[in-house]
Symmetry: C2
Subunit: 191 residues, 2 copies
Amino acid sequence: MVRAGLTVARLTQAGAELADEVGFEQVTVSAVARRFDVKVASLYSHLKNSHDLKTRIALLALEELADRGATALAGRAGKDALTAFADVYRDYAHEHPGRYTAARFRLDPEAAAASAGARHAQMMRAILRGYDLTEPDQTHAVRLLGSVFHGYVSLEAAGAFSHSAPDTEESWSRIVDALDALLRNWPAPAL
Amino acid sequence: MVRAGLTVARLTQAGAELADEVGFEQVTVSAVARRFDVKVASLYSHLKNSHDLKTRIALLALEELADRGATALAGRAGKDALTAFADVYRDYAHEHPGRYTAARFRLDPEAAAASAGARHAQMMRAILRGYDLTEPDQTHAVRLLGSVFHGYVSLEAAGAFSHSAPDTEESWSRIVDALDALLRNWPAPAL
DNA sequence: TGCGCACACCTAAGATCTTTAGGCAAATAC
DNA sequence: GTATTTGCCTAAAGATCTTAGGTGTGCGCA
């Protein structure tokens, strides 16, 4: 019989495609096996288990997202950088909804440490260099940016904004504008 | 044999408790049946299917959250209202992680329409009455608030902030302060 | 108080997914 | 060209979901 040429990388890739097509929740070891026209058990020489597959897809998505972020940030600063980076998140989520969901998959500590998570945080800090924030405030701002990007994209994907005007495109750009304004006038700690 | 006294409400409640104990992902029709010491098939006279159960838990969580929000908002305005409402979200997520996850379960349109989603939006609009925003900007601001609350709480729950100082408590209050400042100085549309 | 009916819960069974154990054949190594 | 590695397979057990059809309980009503 002809071998299918399974590798962890190809399985992960296929899982990511599957996620975009049918949703990350529906990604199963069986479904991936079907896609390679191979018996389910065969995947277990490459993957530890189902959770392992999902973790790998999550790590792939985080890498891709970080790569796009890095590209977007190159040669940009200030509001320009902020906008470009924000759009990377939203565009990625639109193009790859399943992968984006995967990127928010709860990773166990070891996986998290090996993930591109740190790169994401560093890029946000790089953006903030264009604004005038003291060190502790920078951390707060990083968390705010992460929250807004992640929150907006999630809610939009969940359809939370889909039943009200105006369109989400406009809200997005107005919100990014607002964040820029906020970062330029970050308030001092309350008394 | 003694009847267990199954009702949709009790099943939903049990599912919600289970979600908080072992995570929303682990909530299964079988697990709920086990909790009532009843055969799995028995639940299918009360529930349409597994998805139905999850939807009901999600609706329950959204109601509870809206109730708490309404209580918090009573007699408050401005920043006071904003802070109280924000804390409702975060506290609920801490107290009931499984339910909070459930609240973000993707609802089909009919379920969404019957959900407390509209109450949430209305409460946010009520908060914004304490700030001076024109109508379209109010919508953008509602979306921003939703994004930040949801995003922050999700990322915190996912452990995204757990490996860096300062503590998440402080970031949270500084971020709410920042939102207040932003709402008081909402920028005009970019040219 | 007793009768009948509705329905609450059950048994049975098929389908899908996960995971492990052990086997055969194809690729690779010498 | 043989030997070894290893990729993929068969087999099997356990879990979940879901449907179909059966039985006894408890309530409404006479």
